[in-house]
Amino acid sequence: MAEPNIPQVQDQTLAEIGADLEDQVSSSVQLLTHGQLVLARFKKNRLAVIGGVILAILYLLAILCEFVSPYDPDRRFQGFVYLPPTTVHIRDAEGRWRAPFIYPIKRMTDPKTFERKYVEDTSVRYPIKLLQKGDEYELWGLIPTNVHLFGVDDAAGPLAIMGLESMGRDLFSRILYGSRISLSIGLAGVFFSLIIGLVLGGLSGLYGGAVDNIVQRVIEFIRSIPTIPLWMGLAAALPPNWPQLRVYFAITIILSFVGWTTLARVIRGKFLSLREEDYVLAATQAGASRWFIIWEHLVPSFMSYILVHLTLSIPGMIMGETGLSFLGLGLAPPAISWGVLLKDAQKIQEVAIHPWILWPSIFVLVTVLSFNFFGDGLRDASDPYSQRL
């Protein structure tokens, strides 16, 4: 160890010496704020970080879906029904390396079986271009343009990186547009659950007695009904002639109808345990009002817990919407969501011949798993002083 630098007393005032010492201490002992500790703990969990990054990308894609998707989701490619995913080549027929390109597709009918076949025409190459001009759209309904992130010349035929679906529409573009509904419905559902859960759970924990008893019985009641039959029943009750936006909100409310119960339980438990804490007693003695204590002391102390809980309940909501729309009880075309897209996959014979129509399910799986990883990492990180199991 090096000798600490002892300042020359005669040159400096005492205040300066103090400041100097403080500098030395803070440079040798690292002080981390609570936020930094949380971040450090979160970064340690590699799966959680990966989950977070994937979610960020997915939500970004959803926000920019008009720009990223190569085609209008409703554009039909005549004669290319169920076109398999286009192969993107980086080597041409002579074996030379090239920038990514595709060959145009020719439709053939097998002379024996009359099966429809798609064959690549290797005589012409169409390079995939960035910022390609294509279908007109209005970004966020504001900026009219026709520039897409990538695409090919229209003469090349469809660039369908995930294939075309039963009506000859580009599945990749449709998945991107569908992510807007599928990803946002989880957030909206959680938001509604949070409001109901906070109010009822808070009342229940705060007042106790009869209010608590009633709320608890209602929660028990809702939880004892199997969720899916209940959701199916409620969703089937929606009038079929409702506009899709209203159906969207109705589905969200149906999903949060069950979702709030767990949240209310958690909040009630937190209220019950926290109101016994010494600092609450101290605040009461100091003359703080009840609402002041709730907002200044109680809510911040369990907010991180609630956030974690919310994150972990989003995937359930996304699954709910997917399941209902898949069954035809939720959203319906022309609305696009991952569940609506999966409706095509209901017939297993279709899936066996055109397996790429399962792509939306991969997106759902990845999203759900990412949310779980991310939420789990948040849970560990929200309490950075605990030991890890």
């Binding site: 009904i225 039959p229 399941g323 898949f326 397996p355 199991l389």
Partner: protein
């Protein structure tokens, strides 16, 4: 003990009444009723149905009465074993529902057994072998499994089955036994087909239980009494199984009641995808066609059985754990 059981039984009565009202109201919510659907279908096919005839049908099914009268009529008949007529199938509901509910229950209970049968030993094993590669593998699998949506797994499993293993398109029976009367051979055939849905429905529950089991056992294992037991020379197996595991099992068993609604719920969706002859597909059809007596009976019976299952598991728990029996129930 008797007091506890009595209290618990009394508690579930309002829940059952509530469920019956909800089940009935859900079916009442959509505009129009089955008869309007039926009449418009007939008319679109060019057949004629007179207004008097429609009125007569309405009176027969009491659809002209106010909702609460319809409910009272329905629930009294229901309690006497008359579940009404299915409009769509034109058969008594009870004849349609019986076997399907039974099969649903068989699948659900089997799933419950398999879930615990796999999760508890694996969870214990994982905790004993903490931080070895087998523990890491189990933890990762459980971690992924918790979040897997069962009906998507069912969809993908179906595809793989059809594509690579040349399996038929799901179902619980092979072609020979599909319409055969119940026999020992048919039961065996059913069990052979049962494993796939059971695994698909059970995945997330099993994974969740493994995680809880591992965590609670680890908590117990780090306590001094386990150290003391080892110091006295108890075999490792006994030192783990005798007390720590018994304590660690508690939170798992006490949530058995929550597990059941989840499994029944998962079963409904998975059976629709896999085409099992259980409640899922028929409930779905009934909801789509507004076949109200059939749909309401399904929702009521499924939910009631779930409440009953929860009740039984609670009583069993109280019987096993004196702390619950003597008032610590809240």
């Amino acid at each position: 003990m008797r007091g506890y059981i009595l209290r618990r039984v009394l508690q579930s009565i309002p829940i059952l009444i509530g469920i019956s009202i909800v089940a009935f109201l859900i079916i009442q919510l959509p505009p129009g009723d089955y008869l309007t659907v039926y009449a418009s279908n007939l008319r679109s096919q060019g057949e004629f149905i007179g207004d008097e005839e429609l009125e007569a049908l309405k009176a027969q099914y009491a659809l002209d009465k106010p909702v609460y009268m319809q409910y009272i009529r329905w629930i009294t008949n229901f309690l006497q074993g008359n579940m009404g007529q299915s409009f769509y199938w034109n058969k008594p509901v009870s004849s349609l529902i019986g076997e399907r509910i039974a099969l649903s229950m068989v699948v659900s209970i089997l799933t419950l057994i398999v879930t615990y049968g796999i999760a508890i030993p694996v969870g214990i094993y994982s905790s004993i072998k903490q931080y070895t590669w087998s523990d890491h593998v189990i933890t990762l699998i459980a971690f992924i499994g918790v979040g897997l949506p069962s009906f998507l797994v069912a969809l993908i499993v179906m595809y793989l089955g059809v594509k690579y293993f040349n399996l038929g398109a799901g179902g619980l029976f092979s072609a020979d036994y599909l319409d055969a009367p119940w026999s020992f051979a048919r039961v065996i055939d059913m069990l052979k087909h049962m494993w796939l849905p059971v695994i698909v429905i059970g995945i997330s529950g099993t994974a969740g239980t493994i995680r809880v089991m591992r965590a609670t056992t680890l908590d117990e294992l780090s306590k001094p009494y386990v150290e003391a037991a080892r110091a006295r020379g108890l075999s490792e197996l006994k030192a783990v199984l005798k007390y720590p595991v018994r304590v660690a099992l508690n939170p798992i068993l006490s949530t058995i009641g929550w597990m059941l609604p989840t499994i029944v719920s998962g079963e409904t969706l998975v059976s629709l995808v896999l085409g099992l002859p259980t409640t899922g597909p028929l409930l779905y059809r009934a909801l789509i066609t507004q076949d109200m007596f059939l749909a309401a009976s399904f929702i009521l019976i499924l939910s009631s059985l779930t409440v009953l299952g929860t009740l039984i598991s609670d009583i069993l728990l109280a019987w096993m754990d004196p702390r619950i029996r003597f008032g610590g129930a809240e």
